[in-house]
Symmetry: C2
Subunit: 336 residues, 2 copies
DNA sequence: CGTCTTTTATGAAACGTTTCAAAGGGTGAG
DNA sequence: CTCACCCTTTGAAACGTTTCATAAAAGACG
């Protein structure tokens, strides 16, 4: 900037004014400075700017797993909200790795981002509370939060309830829940919702098949386990904690010669794009992904921009069941 | 930091030494300073650090489309390489939007990132050359580059050739290429490869069905157009520019009652995770995605860390054909 | 033509670090 | 007891901006 000033024969302050409050500078001078900037290929140093200005005009979203399409949709919502507010978005992928997440949080705090959106590896990470206490607003995405943060979630218990109620309604009695690890709050909630549906119906039984991670490979493995059971005891329907699991399960069923939905009905969760394109289009619980991200970012902005007082909100969205071919009414004659 | 110094009754310089060269500081003092840091919840200001130190310890990857699984795999490779080098990774999603890409490039240059990996919206963006000329190393990912940059690509002509050669070998003569827009260099190369295969075989004909974008929806639309043709003239095989298109096409075929591969064989491109989980597991051209990202990042690091002289390399990886159920040898008796 | 007001430009301070030359304090050798 | 040397610690400069009080220039007015 000093070079620019020299080149345009003005003072440092004037160059800064051209950049930040051009209306204070005369037409002639402004042009001269802009020309100098062009000729020298000057690029503002954001660090210095930030150091002096105090704010970074940057937001961050720490994603749990970039390769899960659910989160990329959420990210689009976040992106749009950030764009609308004129903020840049730093996307970080923790890859479900606690350490990497911690490293990112440290880094982001050091960068003085204006706020952090995060789908954390552990629901209640003390690090997040500490971060918020020190002044960086934090909004938890797709996970419940204590009163210390805003959060945006979808009602997983309701989702589980919808899914299993649908299975019970279509005539299933032996139902498997496939998902895990169970300690993930969400998974627990979906199980609870599933159990609530069974209890309310007063009939049917729920078996939980826990998986190590919610991905296609684990879905396949679960499929193998289910297919291995004698048909008489085998669940006739599976409710999966997400669509990746459901697709894996579906694929394994097809591979092992079990028919979907006749031998095994499947309900997934998330309604990702591929749910519809699956071998048998997948019945799934749909979450308002884009809206989730967008709303989360808006909450964060409100907290970051708001002056002082702020009440943390815990927003809960309602999921919807999308029925497709992977579930179907069992004729009464064929019921167990 | 001043507060920490006061709290620990040492000078500013000592605090800095504790942080950066702890071996210079006596055990006792170091402990005292660390305690003060803990008590005050001090967090380094990265901007100031960077301003003084000159380097940002940050890399950026400007992704063309986060929701395309191809790029998330590439991103994993980039991520790992960045981690290994102790650098943070800034993931940006241009969403195929020229303006957003430009905005990100400006932002990143202002942030003084150590280097930029990018899959650009346009192959030859003068902005990229300018960026590199001003000192920010740029590596082009999955797109060819002029001699001004390093680049990492996969041989798309070879990929197209492999796919169509496979279709010709399995007995197909009327082959459709589904993909677009054609002006994307990659698409052009795949078409060229496909034509090369046809020419070499001296038999068969290739029809190009151009799509507006390479996604599932467009794949479905292409499927509709193909299915609408009279069976006598309809291509018996389709080679799609990517798996999203192929999955859309497959889905539409199934929906319209055409059998895959009997009525329509399909070859996709990218071999994404869902290719295998599709209604009919998809034959696809597999690209070394992870390696692509990792190598790109390594090239970038070499350029960024290297002192001065650097020869730009254009690395080309070879794709592989993965044969699955969506293509099958046509019995000689049934050939046209 | 002087005075007052408005517009435009300037210079210095401040932001929070890192770095480096130099000062201070011990220790051991002579 | 003195000197030299090593280990610690210190203080100040520098990084590249923004901001603000102030100076200079330019108009406006009587």
């Amino acid at each position: 900037m000093k070079d620019v000033a020299a080149h345009a024969r003005v003072s440092l302050g004037t160059v800064s004014n051209v950049l930040n409050r051009p209306e204070l500078v005369s037409e002639r001078t402004r042009k001269r400075v802009l020309t100098a900037i062009g000729e020298l290929g000057f690029v503002r140093n954001e660090s210095a700017r930030q150091l002096r200005g105090g704010s970074s005009r940057t937001l961050a979203y720490v994603v749990l797993d970039t390769s899960n399409p659910f989160f990329t949709d959420v990210a689009r919502g976040v992106q749009d909200a950030a764009d609308a507010a004129g903020l840049a978005l730093f996307l970080c992928n923790s890859g479900e790795d606690r350490e990497r997440q911690a490293a990112y949080l440290d880094l982001l705090e050091q960068q003085r981002v204006e706020g952090v959106l995060i789908t954390p590896v552990d629901a209640a990470d003390p690090r997040l509370t500490a971060l918020a206490r020190r002044g960086t607003p934090v909004v938890i995405v797709d996970r419940g939060a204590g009163p210390a943060h805003c959060s945006v979630t979808v009602d997983d218990m309701l989702g589980g309830d919808l899914a299993v109620t649908h299975l019970l309604d279509t005539g299933h009695r032996r139902i498997a829940f496939v998902g895990g690890p169970r300690m993930i709050g969400q998974v627990g909630d979906r199980i609870a919702g599933a159990e609530r549906a069974v209890d309310r119906a007063g009939t049917g039984e729920l078996t939980v098949l826990e998986t190590a991670r919610p991905n296609v490979a684990e879905g396949r493995r679960a499929g193998e386990r289910l297919a291995g059971l004698p048909a008489a005891h085998r669940p006739t329907a599976a409710f999966c904690a997400n669509d990746l699991l459901a697709l894996g399960l579906l694929q394994q069923m097809v591979r092992l010669g079990l028919r979907v939905p006749d031998d095994m009905a499947i309900v997934g969760y998330d309604d990702i794009e591929f749910a519809e394109a699956a071998a048998v289009p997948l019945t799934s619980v749909s979450q308002p992904r884009y809206l989730l991200g967008r709303t989360a970012a808006e909450l964060l902005l409100a907290e970051a921009r708001g002056d002082g007082a702020h009440d943390h909100e815990q927003l809960v969205f309602a999921p919807e069941l999308v029925v497709r071919a992977s579930t179907r009414l069992i004729p009464v004659s064929r019921r167990a």
